[in-house]
């Protein structure tokens, strides 16, 4: 076993990696398969610890964080059109990061060099307390380094340049990225700035640039590239670090991915509303990825079952102290932050991936261990992505938030073991998505809240077990969604509250068992097909259940409904069944009530309530009797029925129909099975001419 070192700032991939002094610079080109082996540990330098920026007010389900004290000074939000030079077209675009529109500057083919456009600030402003300019830029074509520059000018028409900021190479068309640039030559910014301008020193071709939110910031202070949080821990903590969509004085808005525009509604903070000490930290800005599938940090080798290769982030350079975290920041929403393809037996700890396409990417990679991933946020597709990756062990994922698709995604990935997911919130689709993924086990999902579709989504995924989902709240569609997914167990969902449509949505799914501690919001649960079970669950909605248009074999059985012993309910399309004491036969303690609530449940689609499974010997008469009643003589009908069951020699349906009255009546059916076995007995109830109820009390079964 060897220990290798990666110093993200001062390392060199030509070193041998054997000490901090000889550290590599990158995982991809330093920790190559030729250099490392099973059992090795790669220690990665930490990125800067959190910086306290005083109090700020965070608001649940809002993107706005309001600082007590501004850390920056706005130059211009650039929400209006700039003034164009010849062969330049200046307009506005609705694809803005702040405000309703942003400035758009289109370079015509005939433009060569010089001032392209400017914007008068409306006065003379002093930025001399600041050293850098931070702003959003989106380019329609790749830009070469230093062809273009932003200038702060002392006149009102962008002619008298005071401060110059060269735009670096940007290889990623169509992606916003936040730039923070020190003024050319260093030093403080100008003290009397009246306009901002963009110049070309070299003919840039014909790019169109979207420009937004120019702010002056200090050398090491808050800027658009920073991440903010309530979490002041250098290492660990469950509060996530959020990318910033905009800064305007004391008003900060949290971002989704970098192309999450100001008009979006899914970028938000989902935790507690409070005014608390707030921190920012910076990640290590990796080389800008040109494409969505660029491998930014590529894992090159596999370990073995007894000798993992460990990637340990958060190390203090020059020491053996693992006292921080390593944040990789892609800035533009492209690339795979940490990428494994067909790699096994690797272990990851204290690594974070922000603003990539996939933050952490596992493809066909099994038997790996994630000890702690603290943040996989604001990625343009998935925070953490498992595809065809099995038998991985995940101890802690603290945050997979604000990603433009899913927070954590398992696709065709089986037998993975997850101990804790603290937050999978505010993603533009779902917090956690199991897609065709089976036999996975999760102990605790603390929060899957405020996602733009679903908190936790099972699609064609079976036999998964989640012990606890503490909160699946305030999602724009459903708290938990099972679609064509069977035999899953969620031992406890403590809260499925304030979801906009359903707390629990069951579609074409069967034999799932769920306990819901408390549910609020529009409708408690939905089912359209299949038989599923709630146990000891509480639904606080006036409308507990909904089902649309399908009287298929569709039941949700809620045992000890509303967490009340013996209060058993069945819910199906246009009918309910419950165990009740108000209407009973004679002195019997309870009866089962079937309420027909819609005309679809005619004799063609009766409500079939299984009331017994009868075991018998072959060759002698079986007699089944049941006391039944109706609340209306003719609006509804019911019958006692045993269906043909050729496996035991019952070759035709046997039934007895309740008379057209409201009396209790003992119905009797008989059959003679030719084979010893078991068959089911039903009370069928159906709509005739109005909504009403049927009841079934004592059942007796005898065999001659």
């Amino acid at each position: 076993m060897a220990i290798y070192y990666i110093d993200l700032v001062n390392g060199s991939d030509t070193n041998n990696g054997t000490s901090w002094a000889l550290a590599w610079k990158t995982i991809t080109n330093g920790a190559t398969a030729a250099r490392i082996a099973p059992g090795d540990e790669i220690r990665i330098s930490k990125t800067p610890d959190p910086v306290n920026i005083g109090n700020a007010t965070w608001t649940a389900d809002s993107p706005t964080v309001t600082l007590a004290t501004a850390q920056t000074l706005t130059v211009t939000l650039a929400t209006a059109s700039w003034t164009a030079s010849t062969n330049i077209t200046c307009t506005t675009s609705a694809n803005s990061k702040v405000g309703a529109t942003c400035a758009s500057v289109a370079f015509g083919a005939s433009f060569t060099t010089g001032k392209a456009a400017y914007y008068a600030l409306g006065g003379a402003y002093n930025f001399s307390a600041y050293q850098k300019l931070s702003f959003w830029i989106q380019n329609s074509v790749a830009l070469s380094a230093n062809n273009l520059k932003i200038c702060l000018c002392s006149d009102t028409i962008g002619n008298t340049i005071v401060d110059t900021f060269y735009i670096p190479a940007i290889p990623s068309p169509g992606r916003y990225l936040p730039l923070t640039i020190a003024k050319d030559g260093g030093g403080n910014l100008g003290s009397s700035i009246q306009s901002i301008a963009i110049y070309a020193d070299v003919d840039p071709g014909t790019p169109t640039l979207l420009l937004n939110d120019f702010i002056a910031c200090t050398t090491n202070g808050l800027c658009l590239q920073a991440l903010i949080s309530k979490n002041g821990n250098a290492q660990g903590g469950t509060e996530g670090y959020f990318a910033l969509q905009s800064i305007d004085g004391t008003t900060i808005k949290l971002d989704g991915d970098t192309n999450c525009y100001a008009s979006a509604t899914w970028n938000k903070y989902s935790g507690a509303t409070e005014t608390v000490t707030t921190y920012f930290r910076h990640g290590f800005k990796t080389s800008l990825a040109a494409n969505t599938s660029t491998n930014v940090n590529l894992i090159n080798d596999s370990g073995t079952s007894g000798s993992y290769i460990e990637y340990q982030g958060g190390y203090e350079v020059g020491t053996t102290n693992q006292n921080g975290e390593t944040f990789f920041d892609g800035l533009n929403g492209n690339g795979y932050g940490i990428s494994l393809s067909s790699k096994s037996y690797n272990k990851f700890n204290y690594l974070n991936a922000i603003r990539y396409y996939y933050g952490i990417y596992f493809n066909n990679s099994s038997n790996n261990i994630i000890t702690t991933i603290s943040n996989a946020n604001s990625n343009a597709s998935y925070g953490i992505f498992f595809n065809s990756s099995n038998n991985n062990t995940i101890t802690t994922i603290s945050n997979a938030n604000s990603n433009a698709n899913y927070g954590i995604y398992f696709g065709s990935s089986n037998n993975n073991t997850i101990t804790t997911i603290s937050n999978a919130n505010s993603n533009s689709s779902s917090g956690i998505y199991f897609n065709s993924s089976n036999n996975n086990t999760s102990t605790t999902i603390s929060n899957a809240n405020s996602n733009a579709s679903y908190g936790v989504y099972f699609g064609s995924s079976n036999n998964n077990t989640i012990t606890t989902i503490s909160n699946a709240n305030s999602n724009a569609n459903y708290g938990v969604y099972l679609n064509s997914s069977n035999n899953n167990i969620i031992t406890t969902i403590s809260n499925a509250k304030s979801n906009a449509i359903y707390g629990i949505f069951l579609s074409n799914s069967s034999n799932n068992t769920i306990k819901v501690g408390s549910s609020t919001g529009a409708t408690g649960f939905y089912s359209d097909a299949g038989i599923n079970y709630f146990k000891n669950s509480t639904f606080n909605q006036a409308t507990e259940f909904s089902s649309t248009s399908s009287p298929a074999n569709n039941w949700v059985w809620s045992l000890n409904h509303d967490n009340t012993e013996g209060n058993h309910w069945g819910f199906t399309y246009q009918a309910t069944v419950n165990r009740q004491t108000a209407v009973v036969h004679g002195t019997e303690p309870v009866a089962w009530k079937t309420a027909i609530t819609g005309s679809t449940r005619t004799t063609a689609y009766p409500v079939k309530l299984k009331i017994a499974e009868v075991a018998f010997n072959a060759g002698s008469l079986v007699t089944v009797k049941a006391w039944v009643k109706k609340d209306h003589a003719t609006n509804v009908a019911c019958k006692l029925a045993a269906y043909a069951n050729t496996s035991v020699g019952i070759n035709t349906n046997v039934s007895a129909t309740k008379a057209s009255d409201t009396n209790w009546e003992e119905l009797t059916i008989t059959f003679t099975p030719t084979v010893a076995g078991v068959t089911e007995i039903y009370l069928e109830s159906w709509y005739v001419s109005g909504n009403s109820n049927t009841y079934v009390g004592t059942i007796t079964v005898t065999q001659a």
Partner: protein, 66 residues
């Protein structure tokens, strides 16, 4: 739209069946007895939601298999 049944279930919840018409009724549940106006307003909101959902469902096939 009329309130057709009122009862208290085994969990002590106030349950109301609101009949929209002869072909459809909506069951509603409350933690305590509430005014009929609340019940009827809730029933109307269900009707409105279901109408919106039905419009969406019209775009996909219906499963009537038993």
């Amino acid at each position: 739209m009329i309130i057709k049944e009122r009862e208290t279930d085994m969990a002590g919840k106030y349950r109301v069946l609101v009949e929209i018409d002869n072909t459809k009724a909506i069951p509603l549940k409350y933690n305590e007895v509430v005014d009929d106006s609340v019940v009827l307003a809730d029933a109307q909101s269900v009707v409105d939601r279901e109408a919106a959902q039905a419009a969406l469902d019209a775009l996909k096939p219906i499963n009537f298999e038993l």
